[in-house]
C-alpha cells in the first residue's frame, strides 16, 4: 500500500517537473547559465567557449548526418576554411583596414570582415565539393568527403600559393579596440566568450529554424527514403547539395570562432581526426535529436578536461573515448539525449501519451511501451513497478 502511494507521488512529482520544463523556462535557464559562465575562472570560461564552438561544429555536421542521412568524414575542411579565412584577413588586410578606418576601431572591423570572408570562403568550397560528393551515398560519400578533407590538409601544408604558412599555420592576433577612453581586447577570454556565445546561440537558433522549415522536413524525408522522396518529385541530389552547403556554412562559422579562440589557424583543423570529433560528439549525444550534438560536445570536452587533470591518464584519453563510443553504440544507440529521455520516462512516465509523444525519436518507442503497460496491467501493480524503478535510479 505504501509502495502504491510512493508510486503516486513519483507520478505527480514527475508531471509537475514536466510542466515546469517548458521551452521558455529552459531558454531562460540557459540564458542565465550563459551569463553566469562569464564570471567563472578564466580557464573555465575558455573551456566553455571551446565547448560552444565544438557544439556548433557538431550541430552543423549533424544537419547532414542526422537530418539528411549523409555521414561526412571531411567537415574539418570547412572548419579549417572558416579559420584560415579570418586568419588570413587579419594578417594580410589588418594593416590596410587600419589605414582606411583608423587604428582604434580597425580590430573590430577586421574581425567582422574576416568572419564574413571565412564564411564566404567556406560556401565557395562547399559548392563544388558538395556537388561532387552528393552524387555518392553511404560509405562512398564518407570516403569522398574524407578525401576532400585530406586534400585540403595537404594543400594547406604544401602551401603552393604562399598563404597558409605550412605546418605552422597562421597566427591570429585579434587586437584591441581603442576608442579614446574605451578599450576592448577582442581576444580577452571573457570578451571572446561573449562574442562566441552570442554567435553560437544565434547560429543554433538558425539551424533550429532550418530543421523545422519545409527544407528541413524534406531533409528528414530523404534520410528516411531517398527513393520515395524522388518518387514524390523531390530532386534528391539537389536537396542534398543544398543541405551540404548549409551544413558547411554552419561549420564555417564554428571555424571562424575556433581561429580566435586558439589564436591560430592550423592545418590540423582539416585533418580527418578533427572531422571525427564532430562524428564522435554527435554519436555520443544522439544524432536523432536536435540537441544531441550539443550534449555530445559537452560530454566530449568536459570528460577530456577531467581526464587531463590526471597526468597518468592523459596519454590514454583517446582510449577512454574509444571505450565510451563502443558503449554508446552498443547500449545507447540514441546517444546521451536518448538515454536521458529514456531515464525521464522511467522516472516520471505516468503513461501519458501526449508526454511520451513529445519526446520524439527513440524516446517515443519506450513511451509507447509504458502506455501499453499501464493499459494492460493492474493499476496498483504498475505503480509498484514504477516506484521501484524510481527508487533504484
Amino acid at each position: 500500500m505504501s509502495a502504491t502511494d510512493t508510486g503516486g507521488r513519483v507520478s505527480r512529482f514527475g508531471s509537475a517537473v514536466a510542466e515546469g520544463w517548458t521551452r521558455e523556462r529552459l531558454g531562460l535557464l540557459g540564458a542565465v547559465a550563459l551569463v553566469l559562465v562569464a564570471f567563472a575562472p578564466p580557464f573555465q570560461v575558455y573551456l566553455f567557449t571551446d565547448f560552444l564552438v565544438v557544439a556548433l561544429f557538431a550541430l552543423g555536421f549533424n544537419l547532414l548526418y542526422g537530418y539528411t542521412g549523409l555521414l561526412s568524414f571531411g567537415h574539418g575542411l570547412f572548419y579549417a576554411g572558416g579559420a584560415y579565412g579570418i586568419a588570413i584577413v587579419l594578417r594580410d588586410l589588418g594593416p590596410v583596414i587600419a589605414d582606411v578606418v583608423g587604428a582604434g576601431i580597425s580590430p573590430l572591423v577586421t574581425f567582422v570582415l574576416g568572419g564574413v570572408v571565412g564564411l564566404a570562403l567556406v560556401v565557395a568550397l562547399a559548392v563544388p565539393v558538395g556537388w561532387l560528393s552528393v552524387r555518392l551515398e553511404e560509405i562512398y560519400f564518407a570516403l569522398i568527403t574524407l578525401a576532400f578533407g585530406m586534400l585540403g590538409y595537404s594543400l594547406i601544408i604544401q602551401d603552393p600559393a604562399g598563404l597558409t604558412n605550412g605546418t605552422d599555420g597562421v597566427i591570429v592576433l585579434l587586437g584591441t579596440v581603442d576608442l579614446g577612453g574605451f578599450s576592448l581586447r577582442i581576444g580577452g577570454r571573457r570578451i571572446y566568450y561573449a562574442i562566441s556565445a552570442v554567435t553560437v546561440v544565434a547560429a543554433v537558433y538558425g539551424v533550429w529554424r532550418v530543421v523545422n522549415s519545409p527544407f528541413g522536413t524534406v531533409c528528414k524525408a530523404i534520410r528516411e527514403s531517398p527513393d520515395r522522396a524522388a518518387a514524390l518529385g523531390i530532386d534528391v541530389s539537389h536537396h542534398r547539395w543544398m543541405t551540404f552547403i548549409v551544413s558547411a556554412a554552419v561549420v564555417g562559422i564554428a571555424g571562424v570562432l575556433r581561429a580566435g579562440l586558439a589564436s591560430v589557424a592550423s592545418p590540423g583543423l582539416t585533418h580527418w581526426s578533427t572531422s571525427a570529433i564532430a562524428v564522435i560528439a554527435t554519436v555520443i549525444g544522439g544524432a536523432t535529436y536536435f540537441y544531441g550534438p550539443i550534449v555530445g560536445a559537452f560530454i566530449f570536452l568536459y570528460i577530456r578536461w577531467a581526464i587531463s587533470r590526471f597526468p597518468a591518464l592523459e596519454a590514454y584519453w583517446e582510449l577512454f573515448f574509444g571505450a565510451l563510443l563502443i558503449a554508446v553504440v552498443l547500449f545507447f544507440k540514441q546517444g546521451a539525449v536518448g538515454g536521458l529521455l529514456l531515464l525521464r520516462d522511467r522516472l516520471f512516465g505516468d503513461g501519458d501519451a501526449d508526454d511520451a509523444g513529445s519526446g520524439g525519436g527513440g524516446a517515443r518507442d519506450d513511451g509507447g511501451q509504458a502506455t501499453a503497460a499501464t493499459d494492460d496491467g493492474a493499476e496498483s501493480g504498475d505503480d509498484n513497478a514504477r516506484a521501484d524503478r524510481g527508487d533504484n535510479s
Binding site: A221, E224, D227, R228, A229, A230, A231, L232, R364
Partner: protein
C-alpha cells in the same frame, strides 16, 4: 476518353536478357488497368522504366502532363521529373518515411507538390493551405485517427494506406500501384480494394495496378494487360482476357487449368 500514358516499342535489355520486349501500350483515363503476368514477366522492370528509375534500351514513354490532352516525352526523365510531370507510384515493398508520423509523410509530399522544398525560413507546419490539403488527404484515405502516429509503429495495411496517401498527395494524372495487396490479410485486402475503388471514382488520377491476387484483379479491373516474357500476350476486357487459353497457360501453367 483520353490517353494519359503511352509507350512506343519500349525495350529494356540486361545483357542478353530482354526484360521488356518492345512493349507498346496506351493507358486511358476512364479505366482501371491491371497489368498481370507470371513472376519474371517484366512487370516491375516495366514500372521502373515508366518511373525513370531505369533507362530504356530503346523506345519512348509519353505522359499526359497537366490539364491538356497533349503527351509529354518523359523517356529520359529522372524519377523526380517523372513524378513532377504527373506520374505517381506505390512500391511492391511498402516505401514510406518510416521515422516520420503519418501527417509528416503527407506534408512532405504536399511540400514537394507546392514547390516549397527550398524554403528554409518558414515553419513547415505554418502554411495553412498545405495543412488544409494534408487534412483533406488524411480524411480521404481514412488516416485522420492515426495522423500523429509514427509510421514505424503502424500495421502493414496502414502503411500501405499511407503510401497511397503519399502517392495521391502530388495530384498525379497516373497512379501506378505495384501489388497493392501484397502481404495483406483478407480483411485488409477487402479494405484496400474498396479504397482503390472509392479513390478512382473521386479523383482524376488514372489507376494502373499490377497484382498477383486474381480475385482483386477481376474485382477492380476494367481492362487487363497480360505480360509474359517481357511482351504483351493479351490485352482487353477481363472476361475476354481471363478466358483466353494462351493466358491461362502462360499465367497459371498448362497443368493448373
Amino acid at each position: 476518353m483520353t490517353t494519359v500514358l503511352k509507350t512506343e516499342d519500349l525495350r529494356k535489355q540486361f545483357g542478353q536478357l530482354t526484360a521488356v520486349d518492345d512493349v507498346s501500350i496506351e493507358i486511358d483515363d476512364d479505366k482501371i488497368t491491371s497489368i498481370i503476368g507470371p513472376n519474371g514477366a517484366g512487370k516491375t522492370t516495366f514500372y521502373n522504366l515508366l518511373t525513370g528509375v531505369l533507362e530504356p534500351t530503346s523506345g519512348s514513354i509519353w505522359l499526359r502532363s497537366g490539364e491538356g490532352d497533349e503527351l509529354a516525352d518523359v523517356t529520359d526523365a529522372e524519377p523526380h521529373e517523372v513524378a513532377q510531370a504527373g506520374l505517381s507510384r506505390s512500391y511492391q515493398i511498402t516505401n514510406i518515411f518510416e521515422g516520420l508520423t503519418v501527417r509528416e509523410n503527407v506534408r512532405v509530399a504536399r511540400i514537394s507538390h507546392e514547390g516549397t522544398r527550398l524554403d528554409f525560413r518558414s515553419r513547415a507546419t505554418g502554411d495553412e493551405s498545405v495543412e488544409a490539403d494534408v487534412e483533406e488527404l488524411l480524411e480521404l484515405t481514412g488516416l485522420t485517427d492515426i495522423a500523429d502516429t509514427p509510421c514505424d509503429t503502424l500495421s502493414h495495411g496502414e502503411k500501405r494506406t499511407v503510401e497511397i496517401a503519399l502517392a495521391l498527395a502530388i495530384e498525379p494524372n497516373v497512379f501506378l500501384m505495384d501489388e497493392p495487396t501484397a502481404g495483406m490479410n483478407p480483411t485488409e485486402v477487402t479494405e484496400i480494394v474498396s479504397l482503390i475503388r472509392e479513390l478512382d471514382a473521386d479523383l482524376d488520377a488514372t489507376f494502373v495496378v499490377t497484382e498477383h491476387n486474381m480475385d482483386v484483379v477481376t474485382d477492380i479491373s476494367d481492362r487487363i494487360v497480360v505480360l509474359a516474357e517481357g511482351s504483351i500476350l493479351a490485352d482487353g476486357a477481363p472476361e475476354d482476357v481471363l478466358t483466353d487459353e494462351r493466358v491461362t497457360e502462360a499465367y497459371l501453367g498448362s497443368d493448373s487449368v
